[in-house]
């Protein structure tokens, strides 16, 4: 009895310590960035563009604009095929089990799972070789967003498929039994019911675009100017942090930019929490 109590207490302490540890690590990292970065943040910091050069002077205006454009264009490329593929896998491929199409579907699923684990720089190299060089699109938002779309499509497919599969089959049966066809059922019942799960996946993907650097280093270039078209190069905030830290003397500005990034990530995660919180709230 005593031994059991002892092992229970030991286990409890270990898990407790592990929990404290993870919170502590996060607090130290975020705290350090905020302490170092916040003092450099002012209104001007958001409204002026980097001046370039070794000094690293200037703000982050153009990098905010670039980040925003890149996220929007990438999502525009990635959502239709991502959600579409997931709808096919989840809602339509069921009747193909055992057939040749069924085997292709399994192959495609395997491909998606594999792609989701490929390091982002590989997509970067692919984007550099195909979009930047072969298609002659240069370092541009267009090249970068297509490469970025390759990176997040597997993520969107997986999260959307999960969201669709968590929709109770009773909804589908209820709709089909009323004379709806598969598409009407998917469009009017299943997709709305999965909407929150799907938006969570999309927000996570947007976060990925905000935070990735390597893939955009080789597709977006590093121009610090405000982009004026899809063919403009640019640098995202994350990329700007990298440039400031490695190629200028303005380490403090890198920290400030990082602090803004951290703030953005926190806001996005809050958004995700609100969405998923509503799920648990509404579905009892």
């Amino acid at each position: 009895m005593n031994r059991r109590k002892l092992s229970q207490n030991a286990a409890f302490s270990l898990f407790w310590a592990a929990g404290i540890m993870s919170v502590l690590i996060m607090a130290v990292v975020v705290g350090y960035v905020l302490v170092k970065g916040l003092p450099g943040i002012s209104f001007d910091f958001f409204t002026t563009s980097p001046r370039g050069g070794l000094s690293g002077e200037g703000g982050i205006y153009s990098t905010i604009v670039t980040t925003f454009y890149l996220v929007v264009v990438t999502l525009a490329f990635a959502i239709p095929p991502g959600v579409g593929a997931a709808v096919y896998f989840s809602e339509y491929s069921g009747s193909t089990v055992g057939s040749l199409t069924g085997k292709l579907v399994n192959l495609a699923r395997f491909g998606v799972d594999t792609l989701a684990g490929v390091p982002s720089i590989v997509f970067g190299l692919f984007g550099y070789a195909v979009f930047v060089t072969a298609m002659n699109l240069g370092f541009s938002i267009l090249s970068a967003s297509m490469a970025g779309a390759c990176l997040i499509i597997p993520v969107i497919i997986r999260t959307t498929e999960d969201a669709l599969e968590s929709v109770p089959s009773g909804y589908r049966e209820g709709s089909l039994a009323l004379g709806a066809n598969r598409w009407e059922t998917t469009w009017k019942v299943v997709l709305p019911a999965a909407f929150r799960g799907i938006s969570t996946g999309i927000l996570l993907s947007a976060g990925r675009i905000v935070s990735e650097t390597a893939i955009f280093f080789v597709t977006l270039g590093g121009s610090y100017r405000v982009p004026h078209s899809l063919m403009s190069g640019g640098r995202t905030m994350a990329l700007h942090v990298y440039y400031l830290a490695m190629e200028t003397r303005a380490f403090d500005r890198a920290m400030s930019t990082a602090a803004v990034l951290v703030g953005l990530v926190v806001v996005m995660n809050l958004g995700i929490n609100t969405i998923t919180g509503r799920i648990t709230g509404k579905q009892r």
Partner: protein, 250 residues
């Protein structure tokens, strides 16, 4: 509604064995029998819900209004043959949108026409008085019994001729069950109702006719006996029916 020598296979497995039955209109017919005897599969044959399962094949025929359901357009068939499921499955939409879903599918666009259909259907499903004050609250926020009546209203809204009920009260408490049973009694004036139930008392209470099903030595479902509920429950002609009714197995 009838079937002739109707068999159903899941891949190579025969689940229903040559079932022939004539289901009377505007009456409640109950299908009873132990779990796995194929009563649900049989019920789902009338609106071809089994089509959704890969590998299902059939032999013989299922007819509604003298027409083979296999030859009918499945959309029109399911408009004619409504279904209520074991677990209440309202859509995560408002009460109004749940009931209006079917009519919208079948072409009713006008908002006021929809409102008329919704009110009529909810009244017929004996739910109107409980929800009329807030038709825009979520169908999911209703109690289990209310949800099931909402599903009945949703089925009625497309004006079917037949309503199939697959253990419609098995997930409900006794009070809600009683309400559903009373409702069925009112509905039979306008609809032909077929109900699957594992609850013999329920079959005895609500149905006019009872069909008893049982699996044979190959685990295929067979129709053992069909007759008026009174006859089945008082003077069954088959000893297996008698054994089941009296609780000797099942």
């Amino acid at each position: 509604m009838s079937t002739r020598n109707y068999s159903l296979f899941y891949g190579g497995f025969k689940a229903l064995n040559r079932i022939s039955i004539q289901i009377p209109s505007n009456r409640i017919t109950a299908f009873i029998g132990p779990s796995g005897c194929g009563k649900s599969s049989f019920l789902r044959s009338f609106n071809r819900m089994n089509d959704l399962i890969p590998g299902v094949t059939t032999e013989g025929e299922v007819c509604i209004d003298g027409r083979n359901v296999a030859d009918e357009d499945v959309v029109q068939l399911r408009k004619k043959v409504g279904m209520v499921f074991q677990r209440p499955n309202p859509f995560p939409k408002s009460v109004f949108e749940n009931v209006a879903y079917g009519p919208k599918l079948h072409g009713v666009k006008n908002r006021s026409d929809l409102a008329v259909v919704v009110e009529k259907s909810l009244k017929r499903a004996a739910l109107w008085d409980e929800v009329k004050d807030d038709l825009h609250k979520s169908g999911m926020s209703l109690s289990g019994g209310q949800q099931q009546r909402l599903c009945i209203a949703r089925a009625i809204a497309v004006e079917p001729e037949v309503i199939l009920m697959d253990e419609p009260a098995s997930a409900l408490d006794p009070v809600a069950t009683l309400k559903i049973e009373e409702l069925m009694n009112e509905l039979k004036a306008n609809y032909t109702i077929a109900i699957v139930t594992h609850n013999m008392q329920q079959a005895a209470r609500v149905s006019d006719y009872t069909a008893f099903m049982l699996t044979d030595e190959n685990r295929a479902g067979n129709l053992i006996e069909f007759g008026t509920t009174k006859q089945i429950f008082t003077t069954p002609s088959d000893t297996r029916t008698e054994d089941y009714i009296t609780g000797r197995f099942g």
